[in-house]
């Protein structure tokens, strides 16, 4: 496991990571091993993250080494799309049994590789390590090496057992596996001055194909998409690209940066969500390609395409304006940069009553403020109850979020639209935004809402669960309003650091008691921000709040 921990350290040190840039040296060393709270929420594990990142490689066999839980419970549950091979959709697992756990699972793993080669003969096999074999010391690197030599075929170890960390760490470890064993091992048949890589895009719902026609029209070739609709050979020869685009999720930043370092492939971080973002990304790709020797006329051609596509998209969206007049949207997303969607929604005439900023960076927040005004409602982390209250009080007409919160909206009889991973519609590029707006229209004007909100004939007014829940919350709020002590206690109870479970009160007290001035100081005294580091921003906001009300502090 020592090489694995070295890799993890390396990944944590990623200088390209925006979050890292905000951390001190010592903090960075600690890395983002976000310790989840037992009995708190549960996100995916590192293995999950690694699989998400690599499974969209469509012609590869993905073999999961572990007991049935890791693959049996989860296979075939992602909506990436393939234009060719479908072997990526096949679930392969060693399904370790008790004997393997006692005597070691390496033999079974080797045999499994052989079986796959004999029956499916894929261009490569990716072997995923999981917790149980990692604990009993199965050396998948050695097995893969032996298999590689024996069968003369790439057998790639992906060392990301679930318990080393979060999904995001798994994404990065997957990237490391590609860097170490795949990228640069083959040569493309030919190259052009217009070859690019797209990194960190998984082609969910076939989204990439919404943008690809524009590339085709411009003569830009996607040498490799890592990993959406990707083929093994493409990734193996992706080191010959002239430039790369890192799609906004930071999942594989290490791949982009190390490819720049090793093969001098410049990259930028961009997004195809939102009209302006799409245009910016196209421009950026053009600039990088021209800087690497493509003819400058490419830039002009790109501008022509952008002008045409933007005009078409805005015209299509404008049609919805009269229908969206006065309609309000609550936007709750985890990963996707909220602001890139905000612009399009506003253009369509929708009012945004709030947007989540759970995973947004400082700059993201600034952009949201720019777009939505200073009083933009930014939501950090909410309980279902709070979310429901938000829906009600802000009188939003529709909620856009990931699947996890869908039941809050639906059971509250509110229109809801999935904008996260499991969605069935593709929202990328110019056409994607138009689709999104059309979907919102469909959801808003569905007559079902009128039907389902109608009370049963025997129901007394105000006696359904929603009314009760609202009353309950109002009562609690009212009780707090008349009881400043309880209100203060409730305010202080708010969790700031979720990893180390530190609340607002503790941090405020520490700041005052030790006259702290920065996040490092807070960490030293409270352990807050000692985990994933996401709360360092919230802590800075506390500093700002305390500075803003010096009188109140003095009065206490």
């Amino acid at each position: 496991m020592s090489s694995l921990s070295a890799t993890i350290q390396d990944v944590f040190n990623e200088p390209g990571c925006g979050k890292n840039a905000n951390k001190s040296e010592a903090e960075r060393k600690k890395g983002c091993t976000k310790q989840l709270q037992p009995g708190g929420a549960a996100g995916g594990c590192a293995f999950d993250g690694a699989k998400i990142a690599l499974q969209p490689l469509t012609d590869v066999a993905h073999l999961v080494h572990g007991p049935i839980a890791c693959e049996g419970n989860s296979w075939d549950n992602r909506g990436a799309k393939s234009s060719g091979s479908n072997i990526w959709r096949t679930g392969f697992t060693t399904d370790m049994n008790e004997t393997d756990v006692v005597f070691g699972g390496e033999k079974r793993l080797f045999k499994a590789v052989r079986e796959i080669i004999e029956r499916y003969d894929p261009p490569a096999i990716f072997v995923y390590q999981t917790c149980v074999p990692a604990m009993i010391g199965d050396d998948i690197d050695a097995v893969c090496k032996a298999a590689r030599e024996k069968f003369g075929k790439p057998v790639i170890p992906v060392n990301a057992p679930g318990f080393v960390g979060s999904k995001n760490l798994g994404n990065k470890l997957a990237g490391e596996a590609l860097l170490e064993h795949v990228i640069g091992t083959e040569e493309p048949e030919y190259t052009t001055p217009y070859d690019i890589n797209i990194i960190g895009e998984y082609n969910l719902s076939g989204e990439l194909w919404q943008v690809k026609p524009l590339f085709d029209e411009l003569g830009i070739r996607i040498l490799a998409c890592i990993s959406g609709d990707g083929k093994y050979k493409e990734v193996a020869s992706s080191h010959r690209a002239k430039a790369a685009m890192m799609v906004c999720s930071k999942a594989m930043i290490n791949v982009a940066r190390k490819m720049e370092e090793r093969y001098a492939i410049p990259f930028f971080e961009g997004s195809f969500y939102g009209i302006e973002d799409t245009s910016d990304s196209l421009r950026e790709i053009g600039k990088l390609l021209v800087a690497r020797g493509a003819p400058a006329e490419l830039l002009d051609r790109i501008e022509i395409v952008i002008a045409r596509e933007e005009a078409k998209a805005w015209a299509a969206i404008a049609k919805y304006k009269p229908r969206f007049n006065g309609k309000r949207v609550l936007l709750i997303t985890g990963g996707v940069k909220s602001w890139s969607v905000v612009a399009a929604l506003q253009e369509a005439g929708l009012d945004l009553v709030g947007t989540s900023v759970k995973k947004s960076t400082k700059e993201d927040k600034e952009r949201i403020k720019e777009l939505m005004g200073q009083d933009a409602h930014m939501i950090d982390d909410m309980t279902p109850r709070e979310m429901y209250k938000m829906l009600k009080e802000a009188k939003a007409d529709i909620m856009l979020s990931g699947g996890r919160s869908q039941f809050i909206a639906l059971k509250a009889m509110m229109p809801w639209l999935d904008i996260n991973q499991e969605r069935h519609n593709a929202y990328m590029g110019y056409v994607g935004m138009v689709t999104l707006v059309a979907e919102i229209d469909k959801a808003l004007y569905n007559p079902v809402w009128e039907q389902v909100r109608r009370p049963a004939p025997w129901e007394k007014a105000g006696e359904n669960w929603r009314a009760r829940a609202m009353r309950q919350m109002e009562a609690e709020a009212a009780a707090l309003a008349v009881d400043p002590v309880a209100a203060e206690a409730a305010r202080r109870e708010k969790k700031i650091c979720h990893c180390k479970s530190v609340d607002l009160g503790t941090i405020e007290d520490a700041i005052r008691a030790h006259t702290l001035t920065d996040v490092d100081g807070v960490r030293e005294h409270t352990h807050a921000s000692g985990g994933c580091g996401a709360c360092s921003q919230r802590i800075e906001e506390i500093f700002a709040d305390i500075a803003a009300v010096p009188l109140a502090v003095a009065a206490e």
Binding site: C45, D48, L63, I68, C70, E98, V101, A112, W465, R468
Partner: protein
């Protein structure tokens, strides 16, 4: 009848099987105010959660002790402690159900010991019901996890009756296997109540995952059987177990309370329901209600109508043992031949399946068998969709997970009515397939093509 063989492959391809702990967790979800907790790494829980959300289309309560690499090596006391305290504080559950996973079983955590210690150290959870089940991922399957968990709940929560005379002849306990959907539970409840009996279901997924609108915001289960109702089960007069997997729990109930039990290995089909009705009539002392006499007639009629379509079909079926036995037997009774049968784990019912062989294997095995034997109907869970496309034969979904169609929780196969529904659905599927793919054309007759063959086959 059937010979049971165990697959010999090192690599399981397209797993049919799911893990034990999530089977156990689902059983806990049939208790009111419950929070199932998997003692393991976060991923194990998150995969289970996603699976159930996609199947039931409901918010699902499921928690993790979030074992990190270090915690796993050192042992999980602190994580179990923190998880219990956190859940107690935030979710205020009426019961916490803990299932172990491969990760913590490999280390060998003494969870019972942990729980004792937590209770000693924290008076606030001294009396909180906590049930622990050992369910390593590297052994057995989903159905076994459910089986062990229900037996364990009976052991821990059911109270031995203080006096035998207080037994209530109207009350019966029902222990449904994991192949019963919330819709099945609802149907069973109605049937039993129609005999004037009061059934208590353990677990009662009918109350918790049936897709109703909740009463309030609660992170725990919102329906199901309450802990105190489980405790009082000892005062009923009979235990009815449904599925061979529930024998273990029924025996536990008998050991603890002296209650007689009867196992109904299947409740889909004419004969099993006749037996069931006769039994209910006997223990309730009431004649079979008119409603069910009519339903029986309707089922017989449906069987007559359906046998034209199902008869002679070459069936490939993959499911957990009890479900396999239940649905497989019914389709066999309708004239289908079970030519390919694959299951996930050992069970005594497998030998009784009206087929030559049953293989403990995966969907690759099922697909291969189906192809080799020329099967023309595939029955399994949603993961079989890729095989069905490749085989190009009609595909009927049963079991968990069913993520690509709506209404999984309401699919009903028990009772005369449920059986009738199943026969109609499968028959219609076959009719549609015939219309789309096998209508005779001059060519098919000329060269004895597949359309002609499919009619003549068997």
């Amino acid at each position: 009848m059937a010979k049971v063989t165990l697959g010999k492959k090192a690599c399981s391809v397209n797993p049919l099987k799911m893990s034990q702990p999530i089977g156990g967790a689902l059983a806990f979800m049939g208790l009111r105010g419950a929070m199932p907790l998997l003692h393991g790494s976060q991923g194990c829980t998150s995969f289970g959660l996603v699976l159930f959300v996609r199947h039931f289309k409901e918010a699902i309560p499921l928690q993790t002790t979030a074992m990190s690499e270090v915690a796993t090596v050192l042992g999980g006391y602190e994580n179990v402690e923190q998880a219990i305290l956190n859940i107690h504080k935030r979710a205020k559950p009426e019961i916490i159900g803990i299932c172990s996973t491969g990760v913590t079983e490999t280390k060998g955590d003494d969870v019972e010991g942990f729980i004792k210690l937590v209770r000693e150290n924290h008076p606030e959870v001294k009396d909180l019901p906590i049930v622990y089940v050992s369910t390593p991922d590297f052994k057995d399957a989903f159905q076994d996890g459910w089986e062990k968990t229900v037996a364990r709940i009976v052991d821990v929560l059911v109270e031995a009756p203080k006096t035998q005379t207080r037994r209530d002849p109207a009350r019966v306990n029902v222990l449904p296997g994991c192949h019963m959907t919330p819709g099945d539970i609802d149907e069973l409840r109605t049937i039993i109540e129609d005999f004037g009996l009061e059934p208590a279901f353990l677990p009662d997924l009918g109350g918790s995952l049936d897709g109703h609108i909740p009463d309030e915001f609660t992170p725990t289960t919102i329906g199901g059987i309450g802990v105190e109702d489980v405790a009082a089960m000892g005062y009923a007069s009979w235990t009815i177990a449904i599925g061979a997997q529930m024998r273990r729990a029924a025996e536990a109930m008998q050991r603890k309370t002296g209650m007689p039990f009867r196992v109904f290995e299947r409740l889909c089909g004419l004969a099993p329901n006749d037996e069931f009705m006769a039994f209910l009539s006997e223990i309730s002392g009431r004649p079979v209600p008119l409603k069910y006499r009519r339903q029986r007639g309707q089922l017989v009629d449906a069987m007559l109508d359906g046998h034209f379509h199902i008869g002679g079909r070459k069936l490939a079926i993959g499911a957990e043992p009890d479900l396999l036995y239940d649905v497989g037997s019914l389709l066999h009774e309708m004239g289908a031949h079970i030519d390919a049968a694959v299951t996930t784990t050992q069970s005594p019912v497998l030998e009784r399946l009206p087929a030559e062989d049953v293989l403990i294997g995966d969907l690759e095995d099922l697909e291969k068998l189906a192809g080799d034997k020329g099967c023309d109907l595939l029955v399994t869970h949603s993961h079989g969709r890729q095989a069905a496309t490749r085989l190009n034969i009609p595909f009927y979904r049963v079991g968990i997970p069913m993520f690509d169609r709506l209404g999984a929780g309401h699919q009903t196969t028990v009772g005369y009515r449920g059986t009738r529904t199943l026969i109609f659905s499968v028959s219609n599927l076959i009719i549609e397939d015939h219309e789309n793919n096998h209508e005779p054309t001059p060519e098919t007759w000329r060269d004895g093509g597949h359309a002609a063959n499919s009619v003549i086959a068997h």
